[in-house]
Subunit: 447 residues, 2 copies
């Protein structure tokens, strides 16, 4: 039987299973439902694959580890990553149907987790199931690692993977992260990396308390004006460049091959208010994927409430986030920032707190295997493109650091899945395409 | 009988009257108590002086206008300004005694309004009373203008004085503002002016909404970084100078005579955190009294609450206050600010709101009458100094603009009067000195 026919025959079952999984409200704070989701997935995998399943305890929600061995003594081992936790659906009044009752409407399956990540997770499980049923076993060892804290920032992923790296996850060469969504043009994407994140907060204290501007205007320094002097030590306003030492160290030029890949990405229209200047879509993508950002996500000093307080504020606080690209070193940048503001730190007027430290990840585009992966996905969606870097931040560095594995991200949900908000959905055809894509990926290992 | 003996004999009465006035809780929002304070003061003046009293209605609390005519047909007319409203005393637990029960303790009279301004107001009334009793009349026409909204920012003072300027307040040459406190060294001061105030708020909008820094970092402009460009159009960070066109127009150099006066002010110790650099006390006073300030009293953008939001904020707002000195024109400065930010205003990204517009006032030090005033006050306190400019802002411009009168401010309360906070007080000796000072001032007009 060919896989297409098999999928058609089992479609009702695939839908019923997703319906059941969506009905379990596996929100992080809901321990009973988390446990029920874990049970359900473990039972499903046991039934489908007769495989070993371990439940790895963490300080938060448990991690499910499934081990599906190859029929012969295959040398290659791959891992699929997904998560079973979902965001709350507290905005119930904005949902057209019950968030925890999967509902088919206009070719889409609506429900919390339908896209993020239950539908994608079942895409993986059923894709493997189709392969196993048609080929009576696997051509490579397959691990399923399914966590329950992705929506909280994967708090224990790093330590869990580290703990498992010596035995259970030894010799994993490749990790497929099945999460996220297609690009805005509706194309499937193969993602080879993501930007990292360095978040920090700077507080400048110029005076122990606020002071009256009538009594102290021209006598005490103003912290907002002083702060811009500090800012100009770490940012060049004229050229819009970061002046933190070592910030740009390790970043390499975009290669011609990478440029070629960017040229294949869908054209962007530049209409958003105050968008920075771009010559063309390729420049836009280069900025977004291959260059670090320097952003202030909050600043506060003094009083801006009702009424007027003519005070000289005593301090100012600003929070920064920098999206990082391959080559940049968080430790070096932090050292550079401390160096640059050393005079103020020594004086006791400036304090720096580091808030986020997530390294970037990039598999590179040179791996010859990439062409094979994209060819597999294109059997299902010929429009599939390579997105070298996802501009946002996910903890894909975890796999590289602990397992020395290459990481590829393949989202199986539509761009308009409305994850985290009301009326989350996965298109029925995207769900079934997902199953086919996983099937095709496993076929790669028969070569 | 000499005035000293007279004051001693009547001391108990002066204290009882202050006790009664303090017991009336004339807080702006308390209409019944405001009315009671007005009645009490009107009745007191009628009893003491058999004078004409008018109650001038305003959209807020009424203004009391007393008219005490000279015994002969004196050409000179002077005005005393005070206020009968007080700040609330909501922090009762911080008061050692009932705020509305005048209490003598360690030579100080404690109570809300004891210093600000009831004690000073009665200093005026009783000073005049002493003069009248000893000299059987006044050598000049005397107006008492006592408002009830000083603690709310004298909301209707300008319009009231304007309305009265054609008749009741015609031909006032001199206004004595009896409010404030001695200098920190405990000396009585004669104030010849005060700095004005220009307050404004600038909002820069770079995007209609906040955006995710992962999706838009390097694509959308950051408003906090953009704001620096705006700020550096109006402020020179390298030289700490304002770049708003016309800002410094009309300001003249401090004269040698003014320098000489500054040299007589008490020495300042420069110990406060992050105080700007000063060579000596005279430079300090020059900055504080004769130079405008440029202060940001609040700035806000994005999110600084619990947790982290990696957003690119859509806008930033900052509030400014500039203390102004004689010569500066509010209208010209506002025009200059609008000019300087014209490109952004035209674009629709910057909006400026003007919040406070209070002109500075300065009588100058050349008036020969000043020497006579200070000599009078020194009869009571030989340490009295001239403070050319009060660094804060009071609406003394009102008298200059509407009456073309010279304004002199003579505070009758001690520096540590704790006005506006708990345990407000006036030193008993300061209260009695105040009566003597007013007596001496009237004597000036017999020449």
């Amino acid at each position: 039987m060919d896989n297409e026919l098999f999928i058609q025959k089992h479609q009702a079952y695939f839908l019923q299973t997703l319906e059941k999984l969506v009905s379990i409200q596996s929100i992080c704070k809901n321990q009973a439902q988390i446990d029920q989701a874990v049970d359900f997935i473990c039972q499903l995998c046991k039934n489908l694959f007769s495989c070993q399943i371990k439940i790895i305890k963490t300080k938060g929600s448990p991690v499910i580890l499934g081990e599906l061995n190859a029929k012969a003594n295959a040398k290659k081992s791959i891992l699929f990553y997904g998560h079973y936790d979902v965001m709350p659906a507290e905005d119930v009044k904005n949902w057209k149907t019950d968030p925890f009752k999967l509902t088919l409407r206009n070719g889409r399956l609506y429900g919390r987790g339908a896209g993020d990540n239950k539908g994608q997770l079942l895409g993986v499980i059923f894709g493997l199931y189709v392969y196993q049923q048609l080929h009576h076993g696997f051509p490579c060892n397959i691990k399923l690692l399914i966590e329950g804290e992705e929506e909280k920032g994967s708090l224990h992923l790093q330590s869990t993977v580290h703990d498992l790296s010596a035995a259970e996850l030894k010799e994993i060469q490749t990790v497929f992260v099945i999460d996220g969504s297609f690009n805005f043009a509706g194309q499937h994407v193969l993602r080879l990396g993501n930007r990292g994140l360095l978040g920090f907060e700077i507080t400048l204290t110029t005076n122990k308390t606020d002071a009256h501007s009538g009594n102290y205007g021209n006598i005490l320094a103003n912290p907002v004006l002083e702060f811009y002097k500090i800012l100009s030590k770490i940012y060049n306003f004229a050229e819009n460049k970061v002046k933190i030492p070592y910030f740009y160290d390790g970043i390499r030029r975009v290669t011609q091959d990478e440029e070629n890949i960017l040229h294949k990405l869908p054209a962007v229209s530049f209409k958003k208010d105050n968008q920075l200047d771009f010559q063309n879509s390729s420049d836009y993508y280069k900025k977004l994927m291959f260059e670090p950002s320097f952003n202030i996500n909050g600043i506060q000093s003094g009083f801006l409430g009702q009424g007027i307080k003519t005070i000289i504020p005593g301090k100012i606080t600003a929070r920064f986030d920098c999206r990082l690209v391959k080559g940049q070193s968080i430790k070096r940048i932090e050292a550079g920032l401390n160096e640059q503001l050393a005079a103020w730190i020594k004086q006791g007027t400036v304090e720096i707190k580091y808030l986020n430290e997530i390294p970037p990840y990039y598999a590179g585009i040179e791996d010859r295997f990439i062409a094979k992966i994209i060819a597999s996905i294109r059997k299902v969606d010929p429009q599939t493109v390579i997105e070298p870097i996802m501009p946002g931040t996910v903890p894909n560095y975890v796999w590289e650091q602990n397992l020395k594995a290459k990481v590829f991200t393949i989202p199986l949900a539509n761009f308009d899945q409305h994850n985290h908000t009301a009326n989350e959905n996965i298109r029925l055809d995207a769900y079934l395409q997902g199953i086919r894509i996983i099937y095709e990926l496993i076929k790669l290992y028969t070569d």
